[in-house]
């Protein structure tokens, strides 16, 4: 077994009483003494601080924009300096290799990729582009929630003026922090790349504020589920296309049929054809009736008895802010909001309603 990696904040997590678990090759805090439910609600009401240093941080030169557009069906050339965009690596079959964030800075692109895929993503990038730089001496912190702006602005006032998906740099204790107004909880907030030298001090400075509490991966998962956001390897993977995964919005007009830079990415034929005529199945939200959660792997049927298995839950659980179970599943595209389906939980078919996402309204500062 390979040894688990530790982030710059490992000792801090332990001192805060975190329960540490293996996650994507890293030893990460899944919850703190507050518990998943309260951590979740704290993030929605105040500000939650997450260690997301396990994610991969990569720098790509601006000269590689065309090469990057050959891997990612997103308008990267048109991304303005100081802005960030959600993207996906696709494969020849139109499946998704990973999802990522792409920021355009003054003289390079800054990419953040999922921890579990980081090695594969970096190899994929290195095989196709020149000069990929993997950042290994910076932590990555997410500060999320309605009080995130007030908290972070106490340390660096300029962040208050940023809009959703803006990126900027700011100095703190002689070091340069890379900041984006984004996150993965559905809340307003920031992701901050912090040099290792000041990672603990910076995190502690935030934690010293009344409204900021440390939040683990448990609540991060329920927050992103309520926000209707995909978890790679669960809700999207190499067997799902962006259209099936309901993230086709990430593909701008310029890369679609008739666009100035139409196609030219792996799986373009299949993805462009699905953009035109739809896919047979699509990721949809489900609201199980009653209180029993429907978790990943629960099979979905079109009837209370007999009938046909029509899909499987890819993410599901209890939504602490929604106050009820919520889930995502791939269902035939003919299904519509309001339709009833049945999930088989411990041998019993329980009804669930096809529902719009997000389950919890997003509060981004657009």
């Amino acid at each position: 077994m390979t040894e688990l990696l530790r982030t710059d904040l490992y000792d801090l997590h332990v001192s805060l009483g975190a329960k540490m678990v293996p996650f994507a090759g890293w030893e990460m805090p899944v919850q703190y003494p507050m518990g998943v439910m309260k951590e979740h609600l704290h993030t929605r009401a105040e500000a939650g601080l997450f260690d997301v240093s396990h994610m991969g941080q990569v720098i790509v030169p601006l000269s590689a924009i065309d090469a990057l557009e050959a891997l990612i069906p997103v308008d990267i050339a048109g991304l303005k300096e100081g802005r960030q965009r959600y993207g996906i690596f696709t494969n020849e079959a139109g499946g998704i290799l990973d999802d990522l964030m792409i920021a355009r800075k003054s003289d390079h692109l800054f990419l953040v990729v999922n921890a579990a895929c980081a090695e594969a993503d970096i190899a994929h990038l290195q095989a196709h582009l020149p000069e990929v730089t993997v950042i290994r001496d910076r932590a990555l912190i997410a500060l999320q929630g309605p009080k995130a702006e007030a908290a972070l602005a106490r340390l660096m006032p300029a962040v208050a003026g940023m809009r959703f998906m803006d990126v900027a740099e700011a100095g703190w204790q002689g070091q340069t922090l890379w900041i984006s107004r984004s996150g993965y909880t559905g809340e307003d907030g920031y992701e901050i790349s912090v040099p290792s030298a000041v990672a603990v001090a910076f995190t502690q400075a935030l934690l010293d504020m009344d409204e900021v509490a440390p939040i683990g991966l448990g609540a991060r998962d329920s927050l992103r589920l309520e926000a209707g956001l995909c978890l790679y390897g669960h809700d999207i993977d190499t067997t799902t296309t962006p259209v099936e995964g309901d993230i086709a919005w990430a593909i701008q007009k310029v890369r679609r049929k008739g666009g100035a830079r139409e196609g030219g990415f792996p799986g373009a034929e299949r993805i462009l054809s699905q953009l035109d005529s739809g896919a047979d199945r699509r990721r949809m939200g489900l609201r199980p009736e009653g209180r029993a959660p429907m978790r990943e792997g629960v099979e979905i049927f079109d009837a209370a008895e007999g009938g046909t298995m029509i899909g499987t839950i890819t993410s599901g659980g209890f939504g602490p802010s929604v106050g009820a179970p919520i889930a995502m599943a791939y269902l035939p595209s003919s299904f519509r909001e309001g339709d009833t389906v049945w999930g088989e939980v411990r041998g019993k078919r329980l009804p669930a309603t096809v529902s719009a996402m997000p389950f919890q309204a997003q509060t981004y500062k657009r």
């Binding site: 518990g35 998943v36 439910m37 448990g218 209180r291 029993a292 209890f318 179970p325 411990r346």
Partner: protein, 119 residues
């Protein structure tokens, strides 16, 4: 009060045994969001999985600690599953059983032995 290695507590109440889970177990489970209880009148054998506790994190089972009949369940848990975290030793009892043989209780730990067991 007696304790099982599965972190259940058993309390004799007249000719019935009341069953719940320990504080230690409720802490390990995390925030409970759903409890599925058995039907009163069900005959159960030791080890049968008869309740499901869903926390934010995962689903776990409670198994019958002894042979007997479920005679009453705690419907308050259906409306307020969080009781399992708030009051595991009193308000959040799960079910009451009529035992075939009360001597079955002798096999379980007392409080001191349970404390040693969870260390």
């Amino acid at each position: 009060m007696k304790f099982t290695e599965e972190h259940e507590w058993l309390r004799v109440e007249g000719d019935l045994v009341v069953v719940g889970i320990t504080e230690h177990a409720s802490e390990q489970l995390g925030d409970v969001v759903f409890v599925e209880l058995p039907e009163p009148g069900t005959q159960v054998a030791k080890g049968d999985e008869i309740c499901v506790i869903e926390s934010v994190k995962a689903a776990s089972d409670i198994s019958a600690p002894v042979d007997g009949e479920i005679v009453e369940v705690n419907d308050a848990l259906a409306d307020n599953p969080a009781l399992v975290n708030e009051d595991p030793l009193e308000g959040a009892w799960f079910f009451k059983m009529k035992l075939e043989d009360m001597d079955q209780l002798d096999a379980f730990m007392d409080e001191d032995e349970y404390k040693d067991f969870i260390g």
